[in-house]
């Protein structure tokens, strides 16, 4: 870990202890087996709210603790280790970031305290299709007399089944292919014309395709300025990606720890398998990758907190680099565990399945390599 403040260290210990004891992967298994459409356990989510994690990013004026993104990342990493499912990421990081960065004081006043107390679950509805491509958004928000009318379908909306307010990216100008002409709208989850179709995904969490069939919103639903939403969307997405980087790191680190433990205990041919050099070197290589990935994950969060001018680069670096490590680590988790790793009874499959979803969310490794190169001007 980065050199943490005392507060961050305490929160890390708290999150680690809580996740391990109160929301371990076994809880996730039970939730999955129950087939819960929301994709998380309500009691788990309530505990998080009680611990104040929903307010980590939110200014004190709106009831939060304003501790910043690195602190949020410290918590997400621990949750990632146990695959703890909740709307914390979608609502208190992604949604809250959008409101904090783009909202009017009225919008903040209206939403942020409710994010903190858990009575609002925010989420971002961004992509028109199955692949992440914000510039490709074609969904229109037509101007009406007193506001806008939204029509189209947003794909793979995180916590799409439970969100109470959706932050929807739609086009008020410009053409598909450009980040210009986009606007963000706050749309209540119960708005007439809005419908949700649950996606039963490989990671058993709560996603939906959300269809807007002429959903009317007032002018006050606009988050930030009309046509200028592209910059805001980019900033929100980068915060989301940095958060995912932290969660992915936790998930991969746990996979590494499980694998290392297995290497030390499983015997074959009369020796623990970790004494086979090919496996020992593979573990050494994975550990090296983990150390490098951790640096990227933390640097992205720190860049946001310090508001440096390379936030976009660092967030793409984190998403791509941690994503690569998680990809490889989740495969090795299965491979090194052998047959037992293939069984549903063992937890390895959960990590593998979650890994691919995390990789794809808000841009996979290829997306972020391309973006990183563009940001560097080549």
């Amino acid at each position: 870990m980065a050199a943490l403040t005392e507060e961050q260290s305490m929160l890390k210990d708290q999150a680690s202890a809580w996740a391990t004891e109160q929301a371990p992967v076994q809880k996730f298994r039970e939730m999955r087996d129950s087939g819960a459409a929301e994709g998380f356990t309500p009691a788990t989510w309530e505990s998080m709210v009680d611990m104040g994690w929903t307010g980590i990013l939110i200014p004190e004026a709106y009831g939060g603790s304003d501790l910043g993104y690195l602190t949020f990342g410290v918590v997400l990493e621990q949750l990632g280790r146990q695959l703890t499912a909740s709307p914390l990421f979608a609502s208190a990081l992604v949604g809250a970031s959008a409101v904090i960065l783009g909202g009017s004081d009225g919008q903040k006043q209206q939403l942020l305290p409710k994010v903190v107390d858990g009575s609002e679950i925010l989420t971002l509805a961004v992509d028109d299709g199955p692949r992440h491509a914000p510039a490709a958004i074609a969904m229109k928000a037509e101007r009406t007399g007193d506001g806008f009318s939204l029509s189209g379908t947003k794909h793979f909306v995180v916590e799409g089944m439970t969100a109470t307010t959706l932050i929807v990216a739609a086009r008020t100008g410009g053409a598909s292919g450009s980040m210009d002409g986009l606007s963000l709208f706050l749309v209540p989850g119960d708005a007439p014309g809005l419908s949700r179709a649950r996606l039963a995904t490989v990671d058993s969490r709560g996603y939906a395709n959300v269809t807007f069939d002429g959903v009317s919103v007032g002018a006050d639903a606009l988050l930030g300025e009309a046509d200028q939403g592209g910059v805001l969307l980019d900033a929100v997405l980068d915060r989301a990606r940095a958060g995912l980087g932290a969660e992915m790191l936790g998930t991969a680190a746990q996979a590494f720890d499980m694998t290392l433990e297995y290497l030390k205990t499983r015997e074959q041919f009369g020796r623990v398998i970790g004494s086979f050099q090919a496996l020992g070197h593979r573990a050494a290589g994975l550990f090296t990758q983990m150390e490098l990935a951790r640096s990227c994950a933390e640097a992205a969060l720190q860049a946001i907190d310090a508001d440096t001018d390379d936030v976009a680069q660092m967030c793409s670096l984190s998403k791509a680099r941690v994503g690569d490590f998680l990809h490889e680590m989740s495969n090795q988790l299965i491979q090194i565990h052998g047959g037992i790793g293939m069984t549903d009874e063992f937890d390895a499959g959960f990590y593998l399945k979650r890994a691919r979803v995390l990789e794809a969310l808000y841009g996979n490794q290829a997306f972020h390599r391309d973006r990183y190169a563009r940001l560097l001007g080549f």
Binding site: F156, A197, V202, Q335, G339, T343, D344, A360
Partner: protein
């Protein structure tokens, strides 16, 4: 030239026979089609009977045991013609380990009595076999198995647990490797016995895998009985039989196997164009993905060419080849990479588990991706194959044993 003319004549004959006998309703289908909801059972069974009658369920086996008595080249020709006609030979699939592993090993080591009793049922697709090899604490290290078989006059009494017995819950017979002399060192004191599954002392429990329901089982022997006349190979020399079985297994996993499905999958690059789109020059819009798909297609092509080359070099006789370990690892990489790339190109649509929001192809991709992770584990893991290549092909010292 002469050989080749003969082969062409045979090929023509095969094409004609397939055209006349393969039920139109099954065209382009394959194994797994039971799930499609269509009831093709009667046609499937009719096709099996015709294949069996012709001896083409096991084309290279002797005619007296229900095979076709054909050469490897002729068997390949049949396969190619099946594929070309959108047809398939499903007997290897429905007999479990019967055609691919048990039969060839019986042909190598079985007594005349054993061959006569067991082979015809396999060749006709009526008797399904499973294999009891792995045990919970003996994964790659098969020789450390602990299932015991005690001599009880005209039969053995088996006690112990097997795992990864594929299809154990639907098989009629099982080939099991057991310890018959606990006082001998690991690889000695092992024997290979065959026993019917329908008896009191055998219990099976299906294993749920990360991809969902699976054909694999845990199999428990509680005083299970195997007749002495079903001991394959000499007592306490079962390791030789097992090694041969594993060679046949590797061979069956090299990607050079029989046509088990008539379905033609969409090439991955076409799938990618559909999901990802193309740029003005017609190139895939995601250049990073395009390069990786290209590398994969080159790997796949190289793999196919290698099978063809090794076959040509061996002049058709590649049933048990030293190259099997290479091909098994190569086949694994090709298949696993293809699954990962397909998942990636589908984006969110490649992350579905079930439900209307995803197409059958999308859901199938996910299950195949997950199930395919086993390819580098079973039948001798990727690492075990590398040990074999290193030691048996390259002549480097053993690295798994102490010292």
């Amino acid at each position: 030239m002469h050989m080749s003319d003969d082969l062409n004549a045979f090929r023509e004959e095969a094409r004609q026979w397939i055209g006349e006998n393969f039920p139109e309703s099954l065209k382009g289908k394959g194994i797994g089609m039971e799930e499609s909801g269509e009831d093709l059972g009667a046609d499937l069974d009719r096709w099996r009977e015709r294949l069996a009658a012709r001896g083409w369920g096991a084309p290279t086996w002797p005619v007296e045991y229900g095979g076709g008595g054909l050469s490897q080249s002729q068997a390949r020709a049949i396969n190619q013609e099946l594929v070309a006609a959108g047809a398939f030979n499903h007997i290897p699939m429905i007999t479990g380990m019967g055609i691919t592993m048990v039969g060839p090993t019986l042909l190598d080591y079985g007594t005349d009595d054993q061959k006569a009793r067991h082979l015809p049922g396999i060749a006709s697709g009526e008797i399904r076999w499973c294999l009891g090899l792995s045990e919970p604490n003996a994964g790659s290290d098969l020789a450390s198995l602990s299932t015991k078989a005690v001599d009880a006059g005209d039969h053995f009494v088996l006690n112990g647990q097997k795992i990864w017995t594929s299809g154990a819950n639907i098989s009629q017979w099982c080939g099991a490797v057991v310890r018959t002399d606990p006082n001998k060192p690991k690889r000695d004191g092992i024997s290979f016995v065959m026993l019917p599954m329908d008896q009191e002392g055998v219990e099976t429990r299906p294993i749920r895998l990360i991809a969902g329901a699976s054909p694999f089982c845990e199999t428990f022997f509680n005083d299970a009985i195997a007749e002495k006349r079903d001991l394959l190979g000499p007592l306490n020399e079962g390791w030789t039989v097992v090694k041969r079985l594993l060679q046949h297994e590797r061979q069956s996993q090299t990607g050079s196997g029989m046509a088990s499905s008539g379905a033609k999958p969409t090439p991955i690059q076409e799938l990618a164009k559909g999901y990802v789109g193309t740029d003005a020059d017609g190139a895939l819009a995601d250049a990073d993905l395009r390069t990786r798909i290209t590398r994969h297609l080159m790997d796949a092509k190289a793999h196919g060419l290698t099978i063809a080359r090794i076959t040509a070099e061996a002049k058709g006789n590649v049933e048990v080849s030293a190259a099997a370990s290479i091909l098994k690892n190569s086949a694994t990489i090709v298949a696993q990479t293809k699954a990962e790339l397909t998942l990636e190109l589908m984006g969110a649509q490649g992350l579905g588990w079930e439900g209307e929001a995803f197409t059958d192809q999308e859901l199938g991709t996910v299950r195949e991706w997950l199930g395919g992770k086993a390819m580098s584990i079973y039948g001798g893991s990727f690492e075990v194959q590398n040990n074999i290549i290193s030691k048996n092909i390259l002549g480097l010292p053993e690295t798994t044993q102490k010292g």
